[in-house]
Amino acid sequence: MFAAGAIAEEDKLDRAETGRVLRRSLQFAQPYRRTIWWAIGLVCMSTTCTLAGPVLVKFGLDHGIGSDNARALNIAVAGYVLVVIIAYFVGRGQYLAINRAGEGFLRDLRVTVFDKLQAQSMAYFDRNKAGVLVSRMTADIESMGELIQWGLLQFVGAGLLLVMTLILMTAMSWQLTLMVVLFVAPVLGVASIRFQRQSNAAYLDVRERVGTNLSNLQEGITGVRVIQAYGREAEQERRFVVTNRALYGSHLHSVKVSTWYFGLVEWSGIMSIALIVGVGGFLVHHGSVKFGTVAAFVLLLANLFDPVQQLSQLYNTVQSAAASLHKLYALMDAEPDVAEHPRPVQLPSEGELVAHAVTFAYDGTERPALHDVSLGVKPGERVALVGPTGAGKSTLAKLLSRLYDPTSGYVTYGDVDVRLASLASLRERVVVVPQEGFLFGGTIMDNIRIARPAATDDDVAAALVAIGALERFQEFPEGLDTEVRERGSRLSAGERQLVSLARAALVDPAVLVLDEATSNLDPGTEAVVEQALERLMTGRSVIVVAHRLTTVQRADRIAVIDHARLVEIGTHDELMALGGKYHALASAWARSQPVIDPSAGR
């Protein structure tokens, strides 16, 4: 969750891109458009209220004090009171409106992006590192949350205030306004542009280093057992200090960039007072402006400089939110390569699962992981896939269950191309039990139920009984409600494997694709599990990627995969008689258990 987001080029948006991002967001905000209009209206009103203060002061000064008229003064005071009261309620309203729309927008964005993410193919998850994907859903969306909570309102408000103040000043005295603008605009204009450029670079730098630093921190914490086991604490600490100090350096640089700018804003703010006093005084002497105007200008100056300062501070927030949105939209635009057909068909409830001359290469690899393989599994038949490590067994299993689509060739179930089938009906017919079991934070019960969310507690218990593991877990103080902790670290290695095997015992598909894990179980427990899986396999088609001789022997047919090709297929006896790859493999297996079998010798 804390891994560095992918930064760099994609963070820098050009103007056209920003426009596109904005238009897209407007579409996304459609459901909340009424609230948004309200918010905009309220922001305008509240800005007007902010401006009304100095105007009323001017009125009081010129018409009340200037012409010895106590009534005008009282009117100004009463008007001011009214404005303050209105401003309070308008202010409340604008916070509520903007947050209601904003949080709704973010909530929808979270749900939509996540659904889109889950719809992506396995290849997508291979291509994109977990840390980056997680940061899309967290850091990127949160940076927008920040904008909505603080920035958006200030951004709009500050912009409006700036413009309206200028209009108001011009109406009061165009000469004074012109002078202020002629002085302020070039100084602040040039400075702001430089500042934005520098601070953007500094900000990106800080963000990247924060990412690296957090990754190192996380690696240190997750790897703490290995670090301690080898006594490398001091070394890791030394390395961490290097990245941590680099981050400190970037922070300092970014402060340096902003420091001169804020000094300059402060300077020009007071300089403008000096100018107004000097030039305004001159104009008062000539009778072309009233004293109240000069006073109002001095008070209005704050309305000119505060927004400028706010806008430049907000610039980074806006910029990073736009960049985040851009990345999110890129994720949402990525069409899943294993997508559902626009007019999907239901798969027949039973049928033969056949691979027709499939070839497949993983993204970014040239050598195909599977080359021209054809294989059919009849209803009720059990086929074992065997072969050395990296031969392509798991790959074939993944193609058969459409986790990937073949580069060429195709897969059918009951004579229907699986690419035409609805994904829901495919997952009902074909279930894959992956090689690596993954435990989620939560209880043992939750972890098993993921295989069939509708399963009752009794179903889960029955699955555990089937693999002979119920008693073992019930003996834990909290039984099946034991929290397994991150990645299941509360359990022993074998216990973790039992939990993920129980998942397989819970499902009920027509075709079961079982990618057998290399075992952490003691052979005694394993034998019990094997019997359970045996029961599970009867009555359905099974494709089992086998790492154990016993599993292989129970198969109806054995397919030997070697170097991405199907090299032999047949029954155990046929293949033994052939004396080819399978014979060699079976002998290696047998040798790995030499002591048990005295006849095999050593």
């Binding site: 003064l73 309070y88 909530r107 080898y230 290696a588």
Partner: protein
Amino acid sequence: MVKRSGRASSTPGAGGWALLRAVLAEQKFGLIAGMAVGLAWSAGKVTVPKLTSLAVDRAILGNGSLAFWASLIAVMAFIAGIFTAWRRWFAFRESRLTETKLREQLFAHVLRLHVGYHDHTQTGQLMSRASSDLLQIQGFVVMIPITASNLAMVMAIVVILFVQQPMLALIALAPLPFLNVLATRFSRRIHPAVLAVQQEQAQLATVVEESVSGVRVIKGFGAHEVTANRLRKEADDIRTVSLDAARVRSSFLPALDLLPNLGLLAVLAIGGHRVLNGSMTRGQMLEFMQYIGLLIFPLRNLGMTVAFGQRAAAALLRVNEVLTTAPAVADPKAPVTLPEGGAVGAVRFEHVTFGYSADSPVLREFDLTIPAGASVALVGGTGGGKSTVARLLIRFYDVQSGCIQLDGVDVRDLSLRVLRQEVSVVFEDTFLFHDSVGANIAFARPDAPQADVEAAARLAGAHDFILELPDGYGTVIGERGYSLSGGQRQRIALARAIVANPRVLVLDDATSAVDPSKEHEIREAMRTVMDGRTTIVIAHRPGTIALADTVVLLDDGGVAATGTHEQLLATNERYRVVLAALAADDDVEEAVS
């Protein structure tokens, strides 16, 4: 290096501030400099309204020199501009330094905390100690020099106003303390809301992280709905708590914005009449209004500082709690040295009792003696406590009773560094670092020559596939690097232990993911590694068990039987059950015949 906060304080709150004081004491020069330039800034800033007022009365409405007064104000512009920049610089520099140092202190301490602590602490929690909590502390430290100068300015303005028009000053300033009160109350109310938002965000992050890392399981079982529902719930929760926070903001922030206006109003109403009476000049009135304008930000800031202070106090508490947790497994006061020379590596477990929670022991009165240089296979059922034996030997946990000795010395009397140098465990789940293959193998001895690294890789059966990787030994692996298969990862972990060249080597199921045909080769190499070195092999496969001279059967928390594999197979019923010997026997015979 690390300052382990040994100062146990009576109340935890005091401990948090003591921690901050200790860190800030090292930075006192920077902080004092920040306050000094801050004072210069407030002096410049405070003079401006006074000058404006004088300019109005003497030059605009009177007949003094406009240019003179205007240039005086311009001088103040330079002073305020330069010193505000400096103040900012010092404030941020010092606060970032505090954050940086505290993070290093935290990291160093967490690395040394006992494994039992890490079992019960989520990675995410420690991460947020070192990131968001430290940010809150940083946010407070920034305020220290800024608040000091703001305070000076507020006091100066109050004095100036009172000296001129005590009554008007009293009325005009009356609403301003409320600003402070309101700001303080606001932050007290908003804090829990913000915390709730952060918590919900962390929960959502966990759902996403697990859905991405466990995507194979989710896709395999078609369980998208489960995770999608979880996510929807978290997204809804975030919206709910965020709106709660927005509600708090909406009732406080507009009030905070508007309160100062009451002061302006008072000046306009009362001051206006006074000007009409002639008891006050117009310049003074403008001055009053400007001063009140000047007060707005500093006063709001004071409120924020109080708020930030409270938040920082909570964060400091949490950070201090980690820093004051003493590692339960630590170096002894006077470490004993291990005997050198001769046959070394004798291991002895004596009446060892241990459980992860006190009431359910995993090992009971466990006794095991392994002579120097001997090898033992530890066999037992799933969850029987085999890995626990390995963890106890390197003191990941301390025994509850009994003792463990290495070469006749209680492991608790050895320095951890020495113990862990001399005993290497290859764990059942492999953790590799985001670094090159070579650096991962040389982890225990970063200065090991390349020849040693390659020799170890050869022995572990890893050399060949490493050469086929894109950059050979320079290929970067780990979470963000090149992905290796389970068997390949195990072999690198094995090489890592071989490079360490320990007296005692523990292999916890270290070849379970290695292909049987390859395992054979590794086993041959392992004989070289094990030659003359005490080795404990935890294994399920008979072929691996056969590497050891003796087999120890771990059952029911103790040693159930000892002997050679054949002896146990022949005499021990439980051993046959654990190895499923009866079933396997027939299968294998049938298979190769």
